[in-house]
């Protein structure tokens, strides 16, 4: 079991939770990505490393794709999966969240996958339960498994992330995907650029180790990868952006803007897409440049790797204490 989570340098992966990209060092990240690469092979996707283990999906925010991706990943590893039905109406205050945690803990799950609209909620849960916690998106903080799957998609497609120029475009202010990707891509040696209107960029975003552009044409110049972010519809009706029409004109990715990036530049989107708002269908559906479907496919393999690694590390830890 430990061989899968042992880096060629001999370092054995020992993290219990996956809450934020910054919790991992470079060696751990490489271990996870290697394992993800392993699970990309169809024959590797049928195994029983987690036979008898219980994974609980606890999604306080509606999600189809992420929750299903975790469910498929866990089942392919041989684990049992329970999807807790948490209606958005019962989105918890701190106290209730901890009560839920106590209840869940009593069922002795091995992995808890949490999505919550409050930044930091999975971290709080992780202190109160004895199982591994995976952050599947918390508020506008992080979405680490998405960043890992984006990195794995690029690794599979291009081989090496180091030295790539990656543009992250759109609503960075409200994006947990962007926050995780900025850290991860930076750690992996990519040059990250942030592109968006000033109203959709966090204050002092230039201190995040990424160059900031408000002019998309300028920002896309020389980029190898363009990551588009989803714009929430309620944010474009005059509050932060005047209209869909203006947003698409200046910040929507179409063929003309993409032509300004490096020749052969690839396009990513965490989904779900607003076609005609942040991305044109023409670009999104072009299999030669769009990695969007591949991201979903890679997502299962990457999540298998993360679940497997956390579970194995925990088993190792318990074995060491016996």
């Amino acid at each position: 079991m430990t061989s899968r989570i042992t880096h060629p340098d001999g370092y054995v992966f020992a993290k219990r939770h996956c809450l934020s990209i910054s919790d991992f060092n470079r060696v751990e990240i490489d271990t996870l990505l290697e394992l993800g690469l392993h699970y990309c092979a169809p024959q590797a996707q049928r195994c029983d490393h987690l036979k008898g283990a219980l994974l609980v999906n606890l999604f306080f925010e509606n999600s189809t794709r992420t929750q299903n991706s975790f469910e498929v990943a866990a089942k392919r590893l041989g684990a049992d999966v329970v999807n807790m039905a948490v209606g958005s109406s019962s989105v918890a205050k701190g106290e209730t969240l901890l009560d839920t945690a106590a209840t869940l803990n009593a069922m002795r799950p091995d992995v808890l996958v949490v999505r919550h609209n409050a930044s930091g909620a999975p971290a709080l849960l992780s202190q109160k339960v004895s199982c591994s916690v995976i952050n599947a998106g918390d508020g506008v903080h992080e979405h680490p498994t998405q960043a890992f799957l984006d990195a794995l998609t690029l690794k599979r497609t291009l081989g090496d992330i180091s030295g790539l120029r990656i543009a992250i475009c759109g609503d960075i202010l409200h994006s947990r995907v962007a926050r995780s990707n900025i850290i991860l891509m930076g750690l992996l040696g990519a040059e990250v650029r942030l592109i968006g209107p000033p109203t959709l960029l966090p204050a002092d975003a230039d201190r995040w180790g990424a160059e900031v552009f408000h002019d998309m044409s300028e920002g896309l110049r020389g980029c190898d990868v363009v990551m588009m972010l989803r714009l929430q519809l309620e944010r474009m009706q005059g509050a932060l952006v005047p209209s869909k029409r203006e947003y698409f004109h200046f910040y929507g990715l179409d063929r003309a803007k993409l032509d300004l990036a490096s020749p052969g530049a690839l396009v990513m989107h965490p989904g779900p897409m607003n076609r005609g708002v942040e991305i044109s269908s023409d670009v999104a559906d072009d299999p030669d440049i769009s990695l969007i479907t591949k991201q979903v496919e890679t997502g299962v393999a990457m999540r298998m790797a993360i679940i497997d690694a956390l579970y194995a590390a925990r088993q190792n830890g318990e074995a060491a204490h016996v």
Partner: protein, 421 residues
Amino acid sequence: MSDLVFRNARLIDPASGYDDMGDLLVQYGKISQFGDVDAPDNVQEIEADGRILSPGLIDMRVVSSETRIDQTGNVAAAGGFTTIVIMPQTGSILDDTSKLDYLLRKGAEGSPINVYGAGALTHGLLGQAMTDIGLMGDAGALFFSNGDNPIANSRLMRRLLSYSSAFNALIASRPLDPDMSAGTCAHESDFSARLGLPGHPPTAERIIAERDIALAELTGGRLLIDMVSSREGAEVLRQAGRRDLEVYASVTINHLSLNELDIGEYRTFAKLDPPLREESDRKALLAAVNDGTIDVIVSSHDPRMAGEKRRPYTEAGAGAIGLETLLGAGLTLVDNEELDLMAMLRALTCNPAELLGLASGKLAEGAPADLVLIDPNAPWVVNPDHMTSRAKNTPFEGRRFIGRADMTVCGGDIVFDRLGA
């Protein structure tokens, strides 16, 4: 378009400070030579006789509508203006590209001078939802304004300044606290109190001016404080000027020439927004133009139907026409040694041109031949019946002025001529 040569003019270029006697040649709608001019034959000669020849005046604040735009253009030409910017609160509110486009097309067809538009900052000027600032900028909006309505919501103002900074757009803001000034029609003073007119103090101006300057500093936006009216307001700008901010300010000719006493016995033609204030405010505003703290002088031309003004003071409409009186009023202040001629012309030519990104506003070879020939010594009395403007709501009725425009040339065409050349 024919070629022209002005002989024996006092050539003033406010942008460079050039002020010398000489000639100026106009060819193909552009200034081709000035100073010592070697004019070809068959060029129309205009004897300037020592009059001032300045770049044509630019008015950044004119209220009109798409249906009256040709008329407004003629009025402006008679006042020495070659470029006017129509405010968004006129006619159908200029809050999308199609309305702006229509206005610009009407202006290009019917007006003898350059007509531009300012886009609305918020839909319907309601101060709630941002308009397509980027698209309207591409469609030709020179700046953005919420008309006469201040933006009450600080969060929205921050977002407007922040969003527009991506396009380097200029955002005009009326410095007036809407709650503090609600229901008022005058400056708060013992004078207005004795007349029984509800007033607001200059503090209402200062609060929003300071807020918006702070937000410009936070966001890196370009801000125009639209129509400063008080000593306190000028002082806020002077302090902002010491920091490295893109903050500019305008003042109306009315607030440089008049004070609250001109309201007299409830003269509604002197009811303005912002209200006329005290003599010390007027003096402070003049000083701020003279030292460059205030960048732009505007007419704030706002034609009102007689019925709107023929009402009790508190109920009458605010606003005054000003395109035809601005230059006379300004030159009279120059004659009284209250206003520096070069500072005044800068605030009417090169400063607005630079703020709006226009090629005009200067005497330079290759610049558009937008010119005004000014007689600084001609005395005249303001008589609304003799004005080109159909609306007659001028607060200067019966005033004696020294100096006026004798000829206006726009793009090489003579668009106004008092000399009969």
